[in-house]
Every structure is written in structure tokens, then in C-alpha cells.
Symmetry: C2
Amino acid sequence: MKKVSMYEENSFKESGLSRLLVHDSPYFKILNFNFKAGQELPLHSHDIEGQVSIAVLEGKGEFLAAEGATLPAEPGDILISEIAEPHGLKAETDMRVLVTIAPPI
Amino acid sequence: MKKVSMYEENSFKESGLSRLLVHDSPYFKILNFNFKAGQELPLHSHDIEGQVSIAVLEGKGEFLAAEGATLPAEPGDILISEIAEPHGLKAETDMRVLVTIAPPI
């Protein structure tokens, strides 16, 4: 058992999203990404099996999907996507998100 | 790909924690539990392989662990536990938490 205080252990960077590896095990990989307003995780996909969830902890922006589609991303919103399906995020305000990948990449 | 707005789709109940099944797949199971102040997920464990993460979205309380141990649970805090290891949560204020189980129970 372990606890991670993401708000204390991760910060924001001017150069791009700030990435904290929270946990990595045979079961899942958990990351915290912090975005300054305007930063993004570009639309991407990996040709492997599994799913990823992206939960908004703080701030607002847009989830990015295939063919230019977007979905509002606000606190309490969670996106679930196949890893092989294009997904991304663009921050309008400073944002903190929790990313879980299973099985771990 | 799907999006769930947990703050809109789940509420609080006087009778006990309010449980929203966010997602269930062969890869992971994702739940949102809302607690009114004073409610708890009692210390429990299941004798199966896998891990569970519990992330605090809103509110504060305590993570519960074996032998009466507790850990502060505040926004941005995440607990990772073996499913077979005793874990739980007690809310001091109203709380919203995100629970991810892999592999799914």
C-alpha cells in the first residue's frame, strides 16, 4: 500500500506538460499530468491492446478525439478510450489530470 | 471512446455511499463513490490478485489500512493497494473519490 499526494509532488512547467509517474505494476500504470493553460497532449494512439482513462482533477479544457472531434473536459469528467484509438487533451486553464493505463504500456 | 461526467451523473445519499459504475471492461473497472460527511467504506479486502487505486476528487477524510492505521485523504491524494490488503475510507466532509480496479473484480 502506498499513497501519493499528486498536488504536492507534481508541479507545472512552462516548457510543456509536467508528468508524474504515480504507479507502475503488472496491473496498471498511473500517471498525473499537469498542464499550463494552452498546453496539450497531442492526439495520439498506440497499436496495442488495452484501455486508458483520463480523469480531470482540476481545471478545464477539451478531450481530443479522431477527426478533429472534441469533448468538454471539466472537473469530474473522465474519458475512457482504447489505447489504439486516437485520444488527447488540450488545456484552456491550468489543469491536473489522472491517467490510468491497463494493462500498463 | 466514451466520456462520463461523474459530478453530474452521481449524487449523494443519506443512507450510505453513492456508487456509480463508470466503466467495466476486461482491463479495469472504474467506479465513483460519493460519501456524505461521516460515511465510510469499511476496511475490507478480497483474496484475489490485482490492485486498486482510490483517488480523492473532492473533500477530505482518511484512508483506512490494516491494524487501525489511517492516512490523510485530501484532493489529489491517491492510495494504491493490493486488493488482498485491507483498505477503506472514512469521510470527514462530503467526498467524491475515483476507484480503479485492475484486473476487474
